[in-house]
């Protein structure tokens, strides 16, 4: 398969993820969308690494994987903290800070 095929799939996934962040209101789903964006990037990295025959892309993928995991944990931690004071979480309810 040509490089472009991978890249286009990556771009599509990335855009879908971004759209998910924009339209969903549940923070968990938003996290998932962000994970999708990160994995879309991973796909691009791997494609590039393969076609360029370069090791840098693989290293990046490892890093992104671990970072993504850490992000999930931190996100969940914040959600748990919010759950302690309110019953539901809708990101749109978090809007006392504005202006």
């Amino acid at each position: 398969m040509p490089l472009n095929a991978y890249l286009i799939v990556g771009a599509l996934l990335f855009t879908i993820g971004a759209a998910g962040v924009l339209v969903r209101r549940n923070p968990l789903v938003m996290f998932m969308s962000i994970e999708l964006m990160l994995n879309a990037v991973n796909l691009s990295f791997m494609a590039f690494a393969h076609f360029l025959d370069s090791v840098d892309g693989w290293m990046f993928v490892f890093l992104v994987l671990t970072v993504a995991a850490a992000e999930v944990v931190v996100g969940l931690a914040i959600i748990v903290a919010i759950f302690r004071t309110r019953r539901e979480i809708d990101v749109d309810e978090l809007n006392t800070l504005k202006g």
Binding site: I8, A18, A19, V23, M59, A69, V72, V73, L76, R84
Partner: protein, 117 residues
């Protein structure tokens, strides 16, 4: 550049969709929520108990800790492959990595994150 035109079009479409959905819900969305409307099941049967039940927070805590310690191990993989080439200092590096993981592990343990009560 022509190769990427479809991508751009798609991005544009996604953007338009996002704006459209936001706008539509904002403009046309009903502004008068009633308890019935918000109820999760609309098949006419009264709820027996609240449909949404919480996981115990402990479960989440353990899960989070598992993820973090599990996935961070992935970072050891490249190091392991190159272990021979990296010589002693590579091993030292691995140790430092381990210490960075072990100290927080010890911390959460002592803070009682692994006990169920």
């Amino acid at each position: 550049m022509p190769d990427y035109v479809p991508v751009l079009i798609l991005m544009g479409l996604a953007l338009a969709f996002a704006i459209l959905v936001t706008l539509v819900t904002f403009v046309f969305g009903p502004k008068k929520p009633t308890p019935e409307k918000l109820a999760p099941y609309e098949c006419g049967i009264e709820e027996i108990e609240p449909p949404r039940q919480r996981f115990p927070v402990k479960y989440l805590t353990t899960g989070m800790l598992f993820i973090i310690f599990d996935v961070e191990a992935a970072a050891i993989l490249p190091l392991a492959i190159l272990m021979r080439q990296l010589k002693v200092l590579g091993f030292v590096e691995l140790l430092i990595f381990a210490v960075v993981l072990i100290v927080p592990f010890f911390y959460v343990w002592r803070k009682g994150a692994f006990t169920w009560e």
